[in-house]
Structures are given as structure tokens and as C-alpha cells.
């Protein structure tokens, strides 16, 4: 046992956010669920290859002109978005479901700093993996494409934005999940919430009178968020960046609520 009266640095004037960041990075790195997002990369690439090989033959000439080739190449996002949303939730909710949060908040009583570090570490990780998944899918799609009419170049107008948009969408979706995780705290409830908010509103919107549907439809998380990885502007939907801004707003609101609640509630 070390000497008790060792000099200490426990209340230095400048709290170290770097320490908390390193701690959170180490947490993310040391659990398996983080590596599931790599499965998302594989899904993206695999589905892109399948899409490139089989889809062109099934499309009519008219469809080939109207289909969005970037959306087609990023078809794997339908799967990988689930992985990113779930990982975002788990970053915080797994601590609440295991009780680990009490240990974490005893080590760092400045709770908002913990949440900020989690969000920062997740953002960087998700951006790297999300961009990798998106660009890999795009280039694999181009490589396997049998039909020249769907071919595009990364330098074509809007293509780079749309492909990078896939990575942005996945990252912000994960942050939306993280915010919901911070609010709801239980893994099961928060995963249900993020997937429910993503998939259910577009279905419900179909049941509404068309005037309502046209008004709120573009602002639903899924519709607003998915514009950033579309090359062609869909009628009635928001533009790429305005849609993305709305999608970001969902993440900001849930994360903001998380920041307020984490200081108010007992751990």
C-alpha cells in the first residue's frame, strides 16, 4: 500500500476534460457492441455489390433515368442505420442498465462533462466508421456496376455531398440515439424509442389526410435526414442541407434534454 500522505492533485484549478475523453474512448474501445458497427460497413459494401450486379437488369429504361444512383449504392444504410442508432443508445444506456453509471459519476461528479465526452467520442468514432461505410459502398457499387447508364463519378455535381451525406446521416442518427438514451436510461426503452421514431412516423403519415401529410411529412426524422444522401431532390421533401439541419435539430433537442436531466436526477 502506498503512503497515505502522498501529495495530491485532486482539486487542481483546471479540470481535465481530456482525462474524461480518454476514459470514454477507452470505454467505447473495450466493449464488443462498438465493433458491431463494423458489421454495418460490411453490410453496406455487400449490399452495394449485390445492388450493382442485380438491380440494373430489373429496371426499365425509364426507371434507370429516374432512380437515384447514390441511394441505390447506399442501400445498405437501411441496415447500418439500425447498428448506429443502437450503438448511440448503448453508449449511455448500458451504463444505466448495468449500474456502471454510479461508478462513472463517482469518478467524475461533473456529470455534464461525462455526457459531453461520450457524445464527442461517439461523434468521432461514428464519423470515421460511417464515412468508411459510405465511401466503400459507393466505390464497390461503381466497380460492380454492369450498366453504364447508372455510373457516376465522385466529381459529378452533388455526388460527393450525397456519399459523405451517408456518413453524416449515420453519425447524427447515433447522436439522436445517444440523446434518447440519456433521457430514457434503459437500453430496451431507448432502442425502441429511436427505432420507433425513425420507422413509425412515415407509416402513420400515410394514414393522414394528404394536406397534413404534405405539411409534416418532410419534417419527420427519417424523411428529413435521408435527403442528405440523395442525389436527386424528391418532390415535396426538404433540400439536402435543410433536411439535414432538421435532422440535426432532433439530435440537439434530445441531447439538450439529456444534459438538463443528467444533473437533475439521482443517478
Amino acid at each position: 500500500m502506498d503512503a497515505v500522505a502522498r501529495p495530491r492533485i485532486s482539486h487542481g484549478p483546471l479540470p481535465s476534460f481530456t482525462d474524461v475523453l480518454r476514459s470514454e474512448l477507452s470505454k467505447l474501445r473495450s466493449v464488443r457492441s462498438t465493433y458491431w458497427t463494423l458489421v454495418a460497413v460490411v453490410c453496406n459494401v455487400g449490399l452495394a455489390a449485390l445492388g450493382a450486379i442485380f438491380v440494373p437488369g430489373q429496371l426499365s429504361g425509364h426507371e434507370k433515368e429516374t432512380v437515384d444512383p447514390i441511394r441505390l449504392s447506399l442501400g445498405g444504410i437501411h441496415l447500418s442505420q439500425v447498428a448506429f442508432a443502437v450503438l448511440g443508445v448503448l453508449v449511455i444506456s448500458s451504463e444505466y442498465s448495468t449500474g456502471m453509471i454510479r461508478t462513472t459519476l463517482s469518478a467524475v461528479p461533473q456529470r455534464r462533462r461525462v455526457l459531453a465526452a461520450k457524445a464527442a467520442v461517439f461523434t468521432v468514432t461514428a464519423l470515421v466508421v460511417g464515412m468508411l461505410a459510405s465511401f466503400a459502398a459507393y466505390f464497390v457499387f461503381q466497380a460492380f456496376l454492369s450498366d453504364a447508364s447508372l455510373r457516376s463519378s465522385i466529381g459529378d455535381p452533388g455526388v460527393l455531398r450525397a456519399v459523405a451525406g451517408g456518413g453524416l446521416f449515420l453519425t447524427v442518427l447515433g447522436l439522436f440515439g445517444l440523446g434518447l438514451g440519456a433521457i430514457i436510461r434503459g437500453s430496451v426503452g431507448a432502442i425502441a424509442a429511436v427505432l420507433g421514431l425513425l420507422f413509425v412516423p412515415p407509416i402513420v403519415a400515410q394514414l393522414l389526410p394528404s394536406s397534413w401529410r404534405d405539411t409534416i411529412g418532410p419534417y419527420l426524422p427519417m424523411h428529413a435526414g435521408s435527403q442528405i444522401f440523395a442525389l436527386r431532390h424528391e418532390a415535396g421533401m426538404l433540400g439536402a442541407w435543410s433536411g439535414f439541419a432538421v435532422f440535426c435539430a432532433y439530435a440537439v433537442v434530445t441531447l439538450g434534454a439529456g444534459f438538463v436531466l443528467i444533473n437533475r436526477r439521482d443517478a
Binding site: M1, P15, K27, S30, G99, M100, T104, S106, V108, P109
Partner: protein
């Protein structure tokens, strides 16, 4: 040093902790004792700033816990050994904690060796036995080499070897001058381990005392005597103001006297004594008496149900 002043926690209609004030001084093992549901864990969570008190305050070495920038250097706590991410290895669990307080990897290895988990450091903690999980929790508490240590029911579910290990560890930590605060619902455990006692029931302070005083105080220390002339002896003792109760086995239980007095009285009056002994109730009996009214759950025959604490 831990100082609680008027600490109160209300959950809806339930008053979990009620105007609780106590002090835990350094260099000693202080036992935090109370029946299940008495408010021990809630109090410990408030000490760590995890639960906000409804009223009152608590400081650790003179400051509220939340003011510490790197609190692991000041306070080490084991609240719930199972409250770890089971998918993370023991080493990684400790490393994540260490990094958040600027503690190096060498210290992680050191505490792993200290609690005897070195050989399973790379194993996922979800597969640990309760005993191993307790050791991991204690390793986490020791990470920052803190001056204050707090353990919630550390011997719960441990095998005899583990119990012995915890007992000697907490005594060693206190002997090094650290503040050690240890909760338990078992008086017998505290009698062996603790120097001081903070006893609570229904969230209220029942007694703050030393183990020695707790045993020595009280009027229920008695002298037991067996004599063929018990009736004569009884009369003589009662003349001296002692209270004598004849037990079914024909022995006398005498309070308000001592072995010396009874022995002298018998000799002076030529009475034969076949047994003369001093008795004090065990810590356990005394504790049961104290907390009888504050036990949360009674069974029909009066024994206490012991639900598992969180």
C-alpha cells in the same frame, strides 16, 4: 473524515433517510449498521453525490463530494459489486476509471495484484463469481490511493476466505490512518471488524458509539449465580438494592450487583455457590433490541425477513 449533518432523503411519501447526523473519523473502521431497508445505501449514495439530499448536507474531508475534480484520489467506494459492464475485462474496467482521474496503467496493475485478480485481468467481468466481482470493486476503490474508503456490504456473498481477506484489509487500511466506512446488516460482522458504530433504523440515527461502549453500557449486564440457598441469597441481595430474577433452571440472574459483591456476600454468610459468572448480552442481542422497532419487515413469528439489498 465524513461528516453528515441533518441528512434527509425523501422518495415520494417514503422518508428513506431522516435527519441523520454522524461523523466518521480517520484511522478507525466505522461500521454502518442497520436492518435491510434502513437507509444505509441511500446514505452512501448521498455521500458520493449520486443522490441529492432532500435536506441537510454531507462532506468528505471538509468538502461536498461533487466539488472534487479527481475524487478517486480522495474517496474510494464500493457500492455494488455487480454494477459493472459485464462485457468489459477487469483490466479495461479499471483502466477506464483510472484514465478519468489521471491515474496511470501501473497503478491498475498494482491494485489488480493487491486484490488477487492479476491472473484474470483480461477476462470479461460478466463471468466473475460474486467474490471476484467484490474484489474488482475493491480494486476500483483503491485505484486512487484514497484517504477515505467506503464499502457497502462488502462481505455479502463471500466465502469464508474472502470474508477473512476483507476483514484484514479494512483493518489494515484504517491502521494506515485512512477513514474506513463499512456498512452491514450483520452485527456479528461489525463486532469483529469495526471500532466504531453508526446504527440506524428507519432512516434515523439510533446510536453513534464505539463497539466497546456499546457492549459495556446498558443495564442489562447481569451476574448469574447457582446456589442451594438461593432464597437466602436473594433476600440478602435485594436488601442491597440488587434486582434478582429466579430463572426456570433455578439459577439467579442478578442485575445491579457484581461478581465481587455476590461472592463476598456469600462468603460472609457461609452460603455455598455452585456457579458465579458475569454476563453481558452479545452485540447481536443488543442490536436486535435496539432495532426491533425499526425493522421494515417482520414475519409472523417475529423474525426478520432479509430481502436482498440493492
Amino acid at each position: 473524515m465524513i461528516e453528515a449533518t441533518g441528512l434527509t432523503k425523501r422518495y415520494g411519501a417514503t422518508l428513506a433517510v431522516d435527519d441523520l447526523s454522524f461523523t466518521v473519523p480517520p484511522g478507525q473502521v466505522t461500521g454502518f449498521l442497520g436492518p435491510n431497508g434502513a437507509g444505509k445505501s441511500t446514505t452512501m449514495r448521498m455521500i458520493l453525490g449520486l443522490d441529492a439530499p432532500t435536506a441537510g448536507s454531507v462532506t468528505v474531508n471538509g468538502r461536498p463530494y461533487a466539488e472534487y475534480r479527481r475524487p478517486l484520489h480522495e474517496v474510494g467506494a464500493l457500492l455494488d459489486a455487480r454494477a459493472v459492464h459485464g462485457g468489459r475485462s477487469a483490466y479495461d474496467h479499471l483502466l477506464c476509471l483510472a484514465l478519468s482521474n489521471g491515474i496511470g496503467r501501473a497503478r491498475v496493475d498494482h491494485v489488480l495484484a493487491q486484490v488477487g485478480l492479476h491472473s484474470v485481468a483480461g477476462k470479461r467481468s460478466g463471468g466473475f463469481s460474486l467474490g471476484m466481482a467484490q474484489r474488482l470493486g475493491i480494486a476500483a476503490a483503491l485505484l486512487g490511493d484514497p484517504r477515505v474508503l467506503m464499502f457497502d456490504e462488502p462481505v455479502n456473498g463471500l466465502d469464508p476466505e474472502g470474508v477473512l481477506w476483507i476483514r484484514s484489509l479494512v483493518k489494515l487500511l484504517a491502521a494506515e490512518g485512512r477513514t474506513v466506512f463499512l456498512s452491514s446488516h450483520l452485527m456479528s460482522e461489525m463486532a469483529i471488524t469495526a471500532d466504531r458504530l453508526v446504527i440506524i433504523g428507519n432512516g434515523r440515527l439510533i446510536r453513534e458509539t464505539t463497539v466497546e461502549d456499546f457492549l459495556g453500557s446498558g443495564l442489562d449486564n447481569f451476574v448469574r449465580v447457582r446456589s442451594p440457598r438461593g432464597d437466602v441469597l436473594t433476600t440478602l441481595l435485594e436488601e442491597q438494592g440488587a434486582v434478582v430474577v429466579r430463572q426456570p433452571d433455578n439459577t439467579l440472574s442478578i442485575t445491579g450487583s457484581s461478581c465481587d459483591t455476590v461472592g463476598e456476600l456469600a462468603r460472609a454468610n457461609g452460603l455455598t455457590l455452585q456457579e458465579l459468572s458475569a454476563h453481558q448480552p452479545t452485540l447481536e442481542q443488543r442490536y436486535m433490541e435496539l432495532t426491533r422497532d425499526s425493522v421494515g419487515y417482520h414475519t409472523a413469528d417475529g423474525t426478520e425477513l432479509t430481502p436482498v439489498e440493492r
